[in-house]
Amino acid sequence: MLIPHPILGSRDAREFIYLGDVRLLDRPDATRSDAEHSFCDYVFLRDNPAGVHRELWFHEQGDRSWLVVTRNTTTHEILGAELARDVALARKRSAQ
């Protein structure tokens, strides 16, 4: 698989390390009263869809950036990649 890195262009997937579902960006609020429950969901449960999946990849043998890659899990077709930093900042802004 080739991952279209937004800065470096097309890079071989073997330069990357896979972490998982992009929802791992949404760390629960530890100060809330239901934090125990929400952290359990956050750490252990996954949607695991067959089809389009947004997921975190780390460019370990490259610029060491985190990417959010959109990929089809039934065909391995990669539909896009963004810097995870941009995704996280956009989410923060939209949450405010």
Binding site: G20, L45, N48
Partner: protein, 416 residues
């Protein structure tokens, strides 16, 4: 129809005209006491033990494709019971005992061959950790033997003992481990279940669950609605997809694991050899093909095929371990869907829907578990309580903090 040497002889005299299909092909009824979703090894074994060991009736197995079209037909056929943790080892040893009597039980040749499984040791600390594992295995009533470098060399002289990065210092042997004929296992259980009155229904995809008042009422299928008292789901790599239809999110991801087989060669491998440090394991089939594999590809996948980097990695590991296979050509390769759980261990449990039961999360090691998984799941379905060897396989163990993490890598499915 009973199989025997005499039967083979008699059929030969009659031009093999007396053989009949191994199971019926019934139309689905509108109503069953038990519906097992998934006609793979685990689902068929579940139906068999429900009928045979627990005396239940009105059972159906629903399979989307054909029996054995999933992981029971896509594995590397290894059976072993050399786990470390107390939540796992008694279960896998129970499975091994069932393997040992399987062919007599089913009157079907599953080609169970206890040719031994060797895990290689490369360092002093690994020897210590394998010694601990061996002791845990022996405590659970299974067998394990630590091999010195010389003993190992006498058994498998062709390994590269002086590899610069991973010199081989010894091995952990389970003499009772080995291989079995994967398709034969599925067919044997299917035939056994059918002969005990189980309706085996192929080409019948479950498309939804009918649930009301927190209780399962039945399943929607591509061949119409089927009402059911209890529903057991055993669909391996598709667990996430199927349980999502019941509104559940599971502690697992689906990944692809590839396996490879070479062209047929003369017998060279006495048993199974695993090279954990290099992500490689290998055995030789009775047809002569070297059957080998490595790690999962490492990203979520439902594609039943992987990518080349992992193929290359497995081939490199194989060549580093056994330089003699350098000129063997790979004949076929394939991928199977692994429901990789968050601690690397399986789940056999009820769900929060009454009457709906789940069996999955077998990660990369479901084949060896087939008999015990079926037995334990049937026990749970029939009696409502977990089998004594499967008590740790609870769905809520993650929230309660009782994970069974053999590799100690935490909630990261692609590392198990």
């Amino acid at each position: 129809m009973k199989f025997s040497g005499f039967r083979v002889f008699a059929e030969a005299l009659k031009g093999n005209t007396g053989w009949r299909p191994l199971w019926r092909d019934p139309e689905p009824k509108s109503d069953y006491d038990y519906v097992v979703v998934g006609g793979g090894g685990h689902g068929l074994a579940t139906a068999y033990y429900l009928a045979k060991a627990f005396g239940q009736s009105r059972i159906a197995v629903l399979e989307k494709g054909w029996f054995g079209s999933g992981n029971i037909g896509r594995n590397t056929t290894i059976i072993r019971s050399n786990y470390l943790l107390p939540g796992n080892e008694p279960f896998y040893e129970f499975s091994m005992k069932l393997w040992e009597g399987l062919e007599q039980e089913l009157n079907f040749n599953a080609m169970v061959s206890q040719r031994g499984v060797i895990n290689l040791i490369h360092s002093d600390s690994q020897r210590d950790s394998f010694r601990r594992r061996a002791n845990a295995v022996i405590l659970a009533g299974a067998d394990a033997r630590l091999l010195s470098r010389e003993e190992l060399r006498a058994m498998v002289p062709f390994l590269n003992f002086d590899n610069a990065r991973f010199p081989i210092r010894g091995g952990l042997l389970q003499p009772r481990g080995g291989t079995a004929r994967h398709d034969g296992v599925a067919w044997g259980y299917a035939r056994g279940a059918d002969s005990h009155g189980v309706d085996l229904i192929q080409n019948c995809e479950v498309t939804g669950f009918r649930i009301s008042d927190g209780k399962i009422r039945g399943v929607e299928t591509s061949r119409g609605y089927i009402s059911a008292g209890k529903v057991g789901v055993a669909v391996a790599g598709s667990s996430g997809r199927v349980m999502a239809m019941a509104g559940m999110r599971l502690p697992m991801e689906s990944h692809v694991l590839q396996a490879y087989v070479s062209e047929g060669l003369k017998p060279v491998l006495p048993g199974v050899i695993t090279f954990g440090a290099g992500h490689f394991y290998i055995s030789q089939s009775d047809k002569g093909g070297l059957v080998f594999g490595g790690d999962i590809d490492g990203y979520n996948s439902y594609a039943q095929r992987g990518n080349l980097p992992v193929v290359e990695h497995a081939a490199e590991c194989g060549l580093a371990l056994m330089p003699m296979i350098g000129r063997a050509r790979v004949l076929r390769m394939w991928g199977g869907l692994m429901d990789m759980s968050m601690d690397g261990s399986p789940i056999i449990d009820r769900t929060n829907v009454e009457g709906l039961f789940f069996n999955g999360g077998w990660c990369i090691g479901g084949f060896k578990a087939t008999p015990a998984s079926g037995y334990a799941f049937a026990h749970l379905l029939a009696t409502g309580s977990p089998h004594q060897t499967a008590r740790a396989y609870r769905l809520d163990r993650f929230s309660r903090g009782y994970v069974i993490d053999e590799t100690g890598t935490g909630a990261q499915p692609n590392l198990h």
